[in-house]
Amino acid sequence: MHALRIAGSTSLPRVAAILVAVAGLGLAGCDDHAGDPKVQIGANPVLPKLQQYLMPPMRIAKVVGWGKDEAPTVPQGLQVHALATGFQHPRSLYVLPNGDVLVVESNGPKAPVYRPKDIITGWVQSFAGAKAKDANRITLLRDTNGDGRYEVRTVFLDHLNSPFGVALVGHDLYVANTDAIVRYPYQDGQTTITAAGTKLTDLPGGPIDHHWTKALLASPDGSKLYVGVGSNSNIGENGIGAEYERAAIWEVDRASGAHRIFASGVRNPTGLQWEPETGKLWAIANERDEIGPDLVPDYLTSVQDGGFYGWPYSYYGQHLDPRIVPQRPDLVATAIKPDYALSSHVAPLGVAMYTGTDLPANYRGGAFVGEHGSWNRTPLNGYKVVFVPFSGGRPSGPPQDVVTGFLDANNHAHGRPVGLAVDRTGGLLIADDVGNTVWRVSSLRPGSSPKPAS
């Protein structure tokens, strides 16, 4: 009995000391305060040392929506108004030749649960407004008399499968569902399509379908379609087999539906645009998570034919990611450093090269980028539309904030910008998938005043 008591009394403090030490280690690993995003902008972002976490930093903005008469903020000389409200998760926009605006209301397929983490992630994302009702349709808006009010609103195409990209070539309207490109016949002025679509080609879809949005862009001559196909994981945690032909930009032949990989190693290319001066393909991409608040910067880049941009093996050229085994030194050696970093976790999901004339001349030829906003970084980053000036077909300066106020002083999200488009008269359109609104930014001219929502 005596011996026992001694054993009990000596082991308790020792064990307590170990417990405290372990808890201390855990807390020390949670020092996750982020640096200044400004040093991660442009051609040479500062890349801190890679960190791995017990609990990756998560910081989501509480969604409050837009109150009556509330709107984002624009610089002096511009005005913003709601083109239309009451959408269900508007994700991307497309302007038809007659000026009609297509609003793609979409949500991702249900994410499968492979690990306990997937349950937690789904729960957290529901707070950030990521899981709205599934509309999966395209709504058409029409301004019949050119006064900037869109009086006609019809369901253009319904019962789609997580659509995102839209492209019109002649009378063929292509919709990039998450699992296929579908072609519909379109006549000028049509406000609704009831004809059954014809599948042009399958795209990598389920059952995992981690990055489900498929951006779409037609070549200027209309012979090819370019498709942004995101990766099937953050960093290969679903196995490299799940990444077949993903994290890539596809070139699809419009006549045959055959495709080739135009560029690879781009984790999630969500916006594709032709640079107006050089005619080169540019893309925005979302980079990997969970290795620090300042890794890895998302980017805007020109896309080289046959280029490899690192994912999953490396980032920003040859910075190796230890989370992927076996490594591929042969591919890493060829990895291209993206042209222009937008800073970490801003989540660019929309890009529009501005060729209109309505906005001031300094915006012409540059790129607007819609930054959906971070969920795993403190302080929050993104939640705005920025403008990247271009000169000679290359970015020529730091980005300027153009549309802000999606996030208020209390870090509550009124909305989150996603897809962008330029309308027929040169206004910048912004899909807001949390505020469920389409905003229009235009020049403020003497005598003109913001128009109310239709």
């Binding site: 009995m1 026992l4 009990g8 372990v22 960093i235 290969g236």
Partner: protein, 156 residues
């Protein structure tokens, strides 16, 4: 006859319960503890296989096994608390075992977070090491707890 049966059960399964107390079989928390120990040990095996052959399937086995072990540990704690509430006093010999087990569960909880990372480093090296450490702590706890209890029984 009845008295003899209880003594034998005590000797094999539960060194701490005393013949004078009326017990019907093993306490539920001990069954649950055995389950959690088996789950944690299974995770070490699947971690080892992943280390040798990094197919994500093995990493998924590991994290589910660890979580199942943690769930069992949680249920065991509840069952133990109910047991304690029903008793007049806490058995002193239970403490080394309880503390050792708590340490193993804490390490397994940290391991669950490590295993929730994405990619190879969810397992190698930290996850694999933690899985091994959990099993070592469980083994040490089992042997340390058994030894003084037996000596007490023999001595007393």
């Amino acid at each position: 006859m009845k008295h003899a049966t209880i003594t034998e059960a005590t000797f094999i399964g539960d060194a701490n319960s005393r013949p004078i107390r009326k017990r019907r079989g093993r306490p539920i928390h001990k069954i649950l503890v055995s389950f959690s120990a088996a789950y944690f040990t299974g995770a070490l095996v699947t971690d080892f296989v992943y280390w040798q052959m990094p197919d994500v399937l093995w990493e998924r086995f590991s994290i589910w096994l660890i979580v199942a072990g943690l769930v069992m540990a949680g249920l065991a704690t509840i069952a133990y608390a109910i047991d304690l509430a029903g008793r007049r006093r806490i058995d002193r010999p239970a403490w080394p075992r309880a503390v050792g087990y708590a340490l193993a569960v804490l390490l397994a909880l940290i391991n669950a977070f490590v295993h929730s990372r994405d990619g190879y480093t969810a397992v190698v090296p930290t996850g694999l090491m933690l899985s091994g450490l959990v099993v070592v702590v469980l083994l040490v706890t089992a042997s340390v707890a058994a030894f003084p209890a037996n000596s007490r029984r023999i001595g007393g």
